[in-house]
């Protein structure tokens, strides 16, 4: 194990997340992990910054995920949102694959959660 992975959380074997699939990790707050059709891995906060919807249930096209509820799109690389109703970005987390396993390092920024939601869920 490198010192780098020491600070990282092992998620699951890469083989458990097929291309085109996404998974929601029940972290605080939840994180969405995407394996794109092109084979890239991305991790962002799972909860849309507009309303409590899971971005892991959204639609990935290229490097963007569209929220399944109101169609704001978030850039998987930067977390930026393209258009309302969501206005604030989601955080981006570091993902790496080592020895066939997915590792994740959570961003240290403050998350932008929608009204009524805390890192522990509903107020």
């Amino acid at each position: 194990m490198s010192s780098e992975t020491d600070q990282m959380m092992r998620v699951c074997p890469l083989s458990q997340l097929a291309r085109g699939d996404a998974m929601r990790l029940e972290t605080r707050p939840p994180i969405a992990l995407f394996h794109t059709e092109e084979g890239e891995l991305f991790a962002i906060d799972d909860t849309c910054t507009h309303q409590d919807a899971s971005l892991a249930d959204g639609y990935v096209e290229g490097c963007e995920v569209e929220c399944p509820l109101h169609a704001s799109k978030f850039d998987l690389r930067t977390g930026k949102v393209d258009a309302p109703p969501a206005k604030l970005p989601v955080r981006v987390h570091t993902v790496e694959v080592l020895d066939g396993d997915i590792y994740l390092k959570e961003s240290e920024e403050e998350p932008n959660l929608p009204p009524g939601i805390t890192v522990d869920g509903h107020v």
Partner: protein, 398 residues
Amino acid sequence: MTTAPEKLAAQGTHEKISESLISTLPGYTYVDEGVFEAEQERIFEQMWFCAVRSADLEKPGSFKTVQIGRESVIVSCNRKGEIRAFFNICRHRGVKLCMEESGQAERSFQCPYHAWTYDLDGKLIAAPNLTKMPDIDRHEHGLVKVHIREYLGYVWLCLAEEPPSFEEDVMGAIEERLGDVHKIDGYDVANLSLGRRITYDVKANWKLIIENFMECYHCATIHPELTEVLPEFADGLAAQYFVGHGAEFGENIKGFTVDGSEGLDVIPGVAEDQDRRYYAITIKPTVFVNLVPDHVIIHRMFPMAADRTIVECDWLYLPSVVESGKDVSASVELFHRVNQQDFDACERCQPAMSSRIYAKGGVLVPSEHHIGAFHDWVMDQVGDVVPESSHGVRKEVR
């Protein structure tokens, strides 16, 4: 439980009036709301119902909504190109999901009320705060599926929990008319292309339209063009009077066209003994099929009210004919005229159905007696419904 004849005898319908005449259904069965509601519930919502042409739903997300009995149904194409059908109702608070008759869903069906969102297989994929309600099963609270069969290039739906046998009801109707269900195979109906579609909004009860389609006693009077092409229709015996009989084209008739001119390219699989002949099949409750050597005509009825039926009619030709842009108008025009003539006649019957003169119905002459079997079948389904008009309030004795 009483058998059909006992029930009919008790109702005094379908009675033999003289050597030549048997009675039709009583007038109220064509106008009474209670009877129509029973038909919706026990016929259209129970049987296999031909809803949509499969080729109309080729793109993922493309959908149509159809009225089957009292229910609205979404028929759509999923991401893999497979057909799916659902009740057009959000599982949350009952909003009608799709208002349009047809359209293109982007990626999902989303309720416009609270944004409950379903994928193209009907699974609930998103809703506000859904992640905080992990006890909501996304399949169980997905859209309610409708049974599907694809046959002859059409999507057939059944709203019943336990659908009846498709083989017996649908394919059996073809077998009954042609004598052998495989006699339709040569027309390769599923692989033909749509040359023309005309939708008719008919102000008549669906049963009047079926009865009209089943007999040809009217042909020489209201269908001059058709009788010119099929001279044997002048004797009043419809192709549906027989088993396995196709009405033969007249001697100088080149094709099944409005003026007897040459038709389009003949469908290669049509057998020698089927050439230059016209076959007609009724598939209860709402489908008519016409087979001629160069095309197939499919009528789908959508009964909307006791006195209103929408009929969608498709003219299907070889794909090469449609792709080449060949003129099919003389071909379409023949049966389009027949349709107009028939539906005019049905609309002219409808108002009299509530007349006291027609309370016991009219009569069927021998060349129409086979319609009696249809009447028996109808009464077997809804013969117990007491008309509202006779009691002021609707009662069911079942």
